[in-house]
Symmetry: C2
Subunit: 334 residues, 2 copies
């Protein structure tokens, strides 16, 4: 079995080719991010520049800018907010890598492995607070409110996930609610801010937010599958950390519901013992019960739903990119 | 030698007796903090309530409310902002305890020792983001800007301190600049917001901010002395962590400047070896060179300066409390 289970409905497209309509704005955002993340103090400067490199796929800034373009024009506020959401996302990644004891991200050493956990904690805090300060420089409190609430829900989602470790009988509903908070809240917020600051009407802004939410859920389910099936050489990040940290993800939750009580107990024992073979022992079982296929179907379900949210928007290249992104997030191998 | 080196200019007064003029408002703030720090999710709820207990001495909310009362009336915004600054301070304490591997704070187990580092990282993030969201609910962006900038400077100060570990030849100027960022920025911000939202004029607001800055520097130097000389049973928190983490604090920096090169090298070796006896071996040397006395003099110098900042303010019980607080911060034993 390979990650091809994720690749049924569309050929994988690389992310950059989808972002054509906002290519110039993304370059402006990168310049702004680099300019913001400097410090006159050598150690701080070195760390924050590295943090900026190790950041995500720039998915959230891209969503924000595409939603702006889908609905109207890209303004200065959009560049500021793209920088804000990327800083917040990077802060959560850097803190996640401490929690997951991950050593690799985007083919680079994580901050915790190159420096130490302390540097990671402080760098994450620096990025969070820098992002909030930047958002506060806009004219009204709208962005601060939306970003403050979203970010707090992200943290609550992370805490709920931490509290659910080892609980492989977690319901699918609770799992979805957790990933909605920890992942989809920030993608929804990015899309909403993009549409709002482009002057979109209320229905339009709500549509973009709902798109971002469904897309975020699809993205996270796909991410959980990649953690089980992916190749580190391809994803460029530490994998298997969900199992190591006993996070109940959708394939495992599904598998649990299909087993009888005795099997459930045996599986729980397997998951609880620290064996390096866990992943290898688990895969045939997940295959036999089509548990990964089920999770991939759920990811596609949310991606389809995201696509339908776009139906009321104008026909233009940015909306087309948003549509194609729904295929990308569930067919990616990295 | 004992902490009495800090107790020359005034008898130690307990903090609560100084806060009479804002006693009622502090109770309202406590109620608001408790109401904000709840969650419908059991694990999150348990953690955030504990975090609220383990928080600081409520010095920052008290400064904010006293500066409001010094200049005018306490309004709803003040209670919100008192809650915000205390949440931010608590977030930094909880992350600090991870960095310092501290096990005790306010006579309670730290979050990292009662739960684990992961819970501490996430709880700190939750408190930061909750605070920013709360600040954004005010009418204008003023508080968000001030708090965003201050908090980012706090984090930068923490990073600079981390970068200076083991560098016992750090200059006194650089040391002061670091503690100004990591500690005094938030006390200055608390005082400034208190005066601003009470309708104080520009000079008044600037005076309160300057008071808070000097007081914060005095407070931090006294804190560094307590880490060397204090009794854990009295302070209720883990001590000696500065030495364990090789933080250059003022007594050590002073001592270094008074030694000859050969002695400096020997001292560096002593500081670098992980001996449990470090504190005991160090104290006679600090005594011989009056290095702790020098640091205590510096703390008193900043406390005096803070007191003089109040000279232009009206004569009222709140200003009197602010004045007496300048004695408290340098004569406390906990």
């Amino acid at each position: 079995m390979s990650t091809s289970v994720l690749q049924q409905d569309a050929p994988a497209t690389s992310l950059p080719t989808l972002l054509g309509p906002v290519e110039r704005e993304l370059a402006q955002f990168e310049a702004m991010l680099a300019a913001e993340l400097r410090s006159e103090h050598a150690f701080v400067d070195e760390l924050v520049r590295y943090g900026c490199l190790i950041g995500g796929k720039r998915l959230r800034p891209a969503l924000l800018l595409l939603c702006a373009r889908a609905v109207g024009q890209v303004h200065d506020e959009h560049l500021t907010l793209a920088t804000v959401v990327e800083m917040i996302h990077t802060a959560t990644l850097i803190h996640d890598d401490v929690l997951d004891e991950a050593s690799m991200r985007r083919h680079l050493a994580t901050v915790n492995s190159r420096w130490d956990n302390e540097s990671s904690v402080l760098l994450g805090d620096f990025l969070f607070t820098h992002a909030f300060h930047l958002a506060s420089l806009l004219e009204t409190t709208f962005a601060c409110r939306r970003i403050g609430r979203a970010t707090n829900r992200v943290c609550e989602g992370e805490l709920r996930q931490k509290g659910s470790r080892g609980d492989f009988r977690l319901s699918e509903t609770e799992y979805l609610s957790i990933i909605e908070a920890k992942t989809a809240e920030l993608t929804a917020c990015s899309c909403e801010l993009g549409a709002y600051y482009a002057g979109g009407d209320e229905a339009c802004v709500a549509r973009c937010a709902a798109y971002g939410r469904d897309l975020g859920i699809a993205f996270q389910i796909a991410d959980d599958i990649l953690d089980l099936l992916g190749e580190e050489s391809q994803t460029g990040k530490s994998l298997g950390t969900d199992l190591a940290k006993q996070k109940p993800t959708l394939p495992l939750i599904r598998l649990m519901t299909l087993l009888d009580e005795r099997q459930r107990e045996q599986l729980t024992q397997l998951l609880e013992n620290g064996s390096q073979l866990r992943r290898e022992l688990l895969l045939p079982l997940l295959e036999r019960y089509s548990a990964i296929r089920y999770a991939a179907d759920q990811a596609r379900h949310y991606a389809d739903q995201a696509r339908r949210r776009l139906d009321g928007l104008p026909l233009n290249p940015a909306v087309d990119s948003l549509r194609r992104l729904t295929h990308f997030v569930v067919s990616r191998s990295a």
